[in-house]
Subunit: 123 residues, 2 copies
Amino acid sequence: MSKNKKKNSGCEINYVNKKSVNRVNKSMKNQEVIVKLAETFKVLGDPTRTKIVYALSKEELCVCDLTSIMGISQSGVSHQLRVLRNMDLVKYRREGRVAYYSLNDEHIANLLEEGLEHVEEKL
Amino acid sequence: MSKNKKKNSGCEINYVNKKSVNRVNKSMKNQEVIVKLAETFKVLGDPTRTKIVYALSKEELCVCDLTSIMGISQSGVSHQLRVLRNMDLVKYRREGRVAYYSLNDEHIANLLEEGLEHVEEKL
DNA sequence: CTTTTATATGATTACATGCTCATATGTTAT
DNA sequence: ATAACATATGAGCATGTAATCATATAAAAG
């Protein structure tokens, strides 16, 4: 090629505000924490699960009650409860055949509350 | 068929704790709010976006800086910024060719903080 | 004007995921 | 033991989505 000019897409490295980038990189959480945090939000980021968690923020409920509230199959509810359990968002206790689910810690209800404030502010 | 016994999977309607279900149904948010809330969490539920939002919780940054921090293409960063913008999680101002992004309201940083407390508690 | 640079966006692809169906597991009762 | 029932789980399908590439805007400089 006769031209050695390059048509750059995106910024050159020397154009970055290095101080900002260094500050942010320095205070950045490590990838493991970021991924775990993202997974937590992702788990809350499906309407079925959001509704389950909201219901459980009101009171402890068995799978049967949740199935009635959710309007999807019992299988579907159980699958989603497992997802929530795996991310430590909910816990459960068994009483005979019945499994009662509830939120795992107070952060979960706080997350919902904070999210609701953001959402209802923008309506 | 000679048998008319039904082998039920899932609970019978008359087995549900009706009072619990009624209480929860009564205080349930409407579907629109649940869906919007879920969308908000979903948007925070991807490691790339989580990291972008975390970075922006530290200071205002341009796309170029973010690209350097994120380690993916500028195109990828821009696509994710649009997603965050569409859910009102971030806002931006232009200064010449440069677009500076920042968090849209204080709830966003609070959500991150609350999520981090949950995550770091379980490590 | 044309060139350069910062950002935005359409198309494509590879992969993830929520739902239902069928079935398994675990608990109580007969 | 067998039956009944609450819950859990594997398979399969249908849909969603994050990444990149190529290209389009937009703003400043020559």
